[in-house]
């Protein structure tokens, strides 16, 4: 009797974690897909960013190049005033370039939570968010037609978010909403994905709307106009020299 109970207990102990392990692996794969959704191995994209605040509102048009998870290069095309302003992110470092004053400014770690180009995206979003699989534990739950991925930071992860939740559609495996929680468990901001379009044979949401919940009236909408994936990028794109080229 005792043996039976023990074996039952043992099997419970063994089965439970293995079960969740399996689920986690599945979830991690899904998360990796999320990670690579907008980037693939490499990408070239043109996008529009509309920033709305109670005091002002403006639209930026920009072009971005990405390679793997580490390298990003963004250049502003319009408005005319900001044309040529560029951002280069390589590994964990980040630089901005202002053609008017011909200066490259390195973004210091203290500015990582600062806003990027006045939007509701932080510099940190540009630099860090890409490596979610490496930095977060992930758990998956089924919710009707959707999966809900709950991300909690790993022990060594440096982040301000205590939890990130991603809602993913079961069928298309495309994200619908991504919410960020602070250490008090409050939802601080959420990003909505909408309008799935076909970009060079790849389906992905074309519009991302970032709404900070602690700032009323603020909103940033990014719309992908064109995107091209897995194309060959020369090795001179993600360089400080390219950052400083006037165009």
């Amino acid at each position: 009797m005792l043996k039976l109970l023990l074996s039952a207990l043992f099997s419970l102990i063994f089965i439970l974690p293995s079960n969740s392990c399996l689920a986690d692996e599945d979830a991690a794969a899904l998360l990796k897909k999320m990670d690579e959704l907008f980037r693939s191995n490499s990408s070239i994209a043109t996008m529009k960013m509309q920033i709305i605040t109670p005091n002002w509102q403006r639209t930026l048009e920009m072009q971005s190049w990405t390679q793997g998870m580490d390298d990003t290069f963004i250049r502003v095309l319009s408005p005319r005033k900001d044309r040529g302003v560029a951002t280069l992110k390589k590994d964990k470092e980040m630089w901005n370039f202002f053609p008017k004053i011909n200066k490259v400014i390195k973004v210091p770690p203290s500015m990582m939570m600062g806003s990027w180009m006045g939007s509701d995206f932080t510099n940190d979003d540009l630099v860090r968010e890409v490596s979610m699989v490496e930095e977060y534990h992930v758990a998956k739950a089924v919710e009707g037609e959707n999966y809900r991925l709950t991300l909690t930071p790993k022990q060594n992860t440096v982040t301000v978010w205590a939890k990130i939740e991603i809602v993913v559609n079961k069928q298309s495996l495309l994200p619908l909403e991504q919410s960020y929680f602070n250490e008090k468990g409050e939802k601080v901001r959420s990003m909505m994905f909408s309008e799935v379009r076909d970009f060079a044979g790849k389906k992905m949401p074309a519009i991302m709307t970032m709404v900070p919940l602690n700032k009323t009236g603020h909103k940033t909408v990014i719309e992908y106009v064109e995107a091209e994936f897995d194309s060959e990028l020369g090795n001179n794109i993600f360089t400080l020299r390219n950052l400083q080229t006037r165009f």
Partner: protein, 409 residues
């Protein structure tokens, strides 16, 4: 009528005593008048220098810009506002300003700086900024040959950044439309010294600043007004506020704008009122002494007056009248003595051996002031204390019986 006649006869009869009384009371008046003139004068001098430095007498802001400055709290129709203000006779200078805290780049260092957009012409008519240019030329609206707007830079900022006249100054800030404001300017002047208000400031011309922050032509953050006299500030701002159509705007006198300075000055003034009241006390003791001696000496005289049938009330009024007449004459005498001295103090003042530095503004002379307050307060003090002091001997004389009085030695 008889009482009047008697009173003056009494005053004139004992000339030496009257003159001594006059001198004592007149001296008190003189002392008080000078002290008041000096203290009032140095305060208004400090206020004048202080407000002319950068504050002005009255400031206009949008909403609560004063407590919580924000780039977006702008005065949007500054042209109409300024022409409306110019029509007022009390207004001497009006200067619009734009503020934008920025990051300043020198050769290889960066420092935070307060960037202020000013109208060079109007600013020089309103504050002493133009006189504070220590190197180079005062700001103009024009663009240099190299295509850059010129900028004036504070002494400490210039030192910290390691730049000097003719060098390029790079500023980065946030534009009003959310863009990153960034531009190059050419340093045309260095203002102030290591202690002055401007030490970490950068001054740009209004058009340059509006272009830098992507602002409209008619947008500013602050309008500074100087009046004929700083004492008009409160009433002017109240009157103008009532007349204003645009209720978003707040008009504040310098007492509100620089409330910490004003409050510490008020506290200091309260302290000096203590020493002032000691002087008032000493003056009235002097008056008491002379009046009391004058009446006690004449106890027998009052006895005779009573004996020949003068009513007690007549004796009472006689003494009061005598003291009042003496007080009045001594006030005139004191005024005659103190006015020339006061005027001299108000015009040239006493140079201080060691200039006092207050918030980067130096005071090197103590100036006097001639005003109604300075003249009227000592007069009131001398006359009132005389009347109060003479009450006691007057009541005594009115009550005394003729027999007792005549027997007094």
């Amino acid at each position: 009528m008889l009482t009047f006649k008697l009173a003056f006869r009494n005053i004139l009869r004992n000339r030496r005593r009257s003159i001594l009384t006059l001198l004592s009371m007149g001296g008190g008046f003189f002392l008080l008048c000078l002290t008041l003139s000096m203290s009032e004068g140095s305060y208004s001098n400090i206020i004048d220098i202080f407000t002319q430095d950068h504050t002005g007498h009255v400031q206009i802001h949008k909403d609560d810009y004063l407590e919580r400055p924000s780039l977006y709290k702008t005065i949007n129709n500054v042209d109409t506002l300024m022409s409306q203000l110019e029509s007022n006779d009390n207004v001497i200078g009006i200067a619009p300003r734009i503020f934008g805290p920025s990051l300043a780049y020198g050769k290889n260092k960066t420092f935070p700086a307060q960037v202020i957009g000013i109208d060079p012409q109007l600013e020089s008519q309103t504050t002493r900024l133009k006189n504070k240019v220590s190197q180079g030329k005062y700001l103009t609206n024009t663009i240099s040959e190299t295509g850059y707007y010129s900028a004036m830079i504070g002494y400490s900022l210039a030192n910290n950044l390691g730049i000097t006249l003719g060098d390029e100054l790079v500023l980065i800030s946030q534009g009003i439309d959310g863009s990153i404001a960034n531009d190059i300017f050419e340093v045309s002047a260095i203002v102030g010294d290591a202690n002055s208000y401007e030490k970490m400031n950068v001054y740009l011309s209004l058009p340059a600043m509006q272009e830098f922050l992507s602002m409209g032509k008619n947008q500013v953050h602050e309008v500074v007004i100087t009046l004929e006299n700083q004492s008009l500030a409160r009433s002017f701002s109240k009157k103008t506020q009532d007349k204003l159509v645009d209720t978003d705007l707040n008009i504040e006198p310098w007492q509100v704008v620089e409330s910490s300075f004003y409050n510490s000055m008020q506290a200091d003034k309260k302290g000096s009122y203590v020493s002032m009241s000691i002087i008032i006390f000493i003056v009235s003791i002097g008056v008491l002494n002379t009046i009391l001696m004058g009446t006690l000496e004449r106890t027998r005289e009052f006895g005779v007056l009573k004996a020949i049938g003068t009513r007690p009330s007549s004796v009472f009024f006689l003494i009061i009248l005598e003291s009042f007449a003496l007080a009045l004459i001594s006030c005139l005498l004191g005024l005659l003595l103190s006015l020339p001295v006061c005027f001299w103090l108000a015009s040239s003042g006493i140079p201080m051996p060691e200039p006092i530095d207050m918030g980067g503004i130096t005071f090197d002379t103590m100036l006097g002031e001639v005003s109604w307050f300075v003249i009227l307060l000592p007069s009131v003090v001398v006359i009132a204390s005389t009347l109060v002091v003479s009450l006691i001997p007057a009541i005594r004389a009115a009550k005394i019986s003729p027999l007792q009085a005549l027997q007094a030695t």
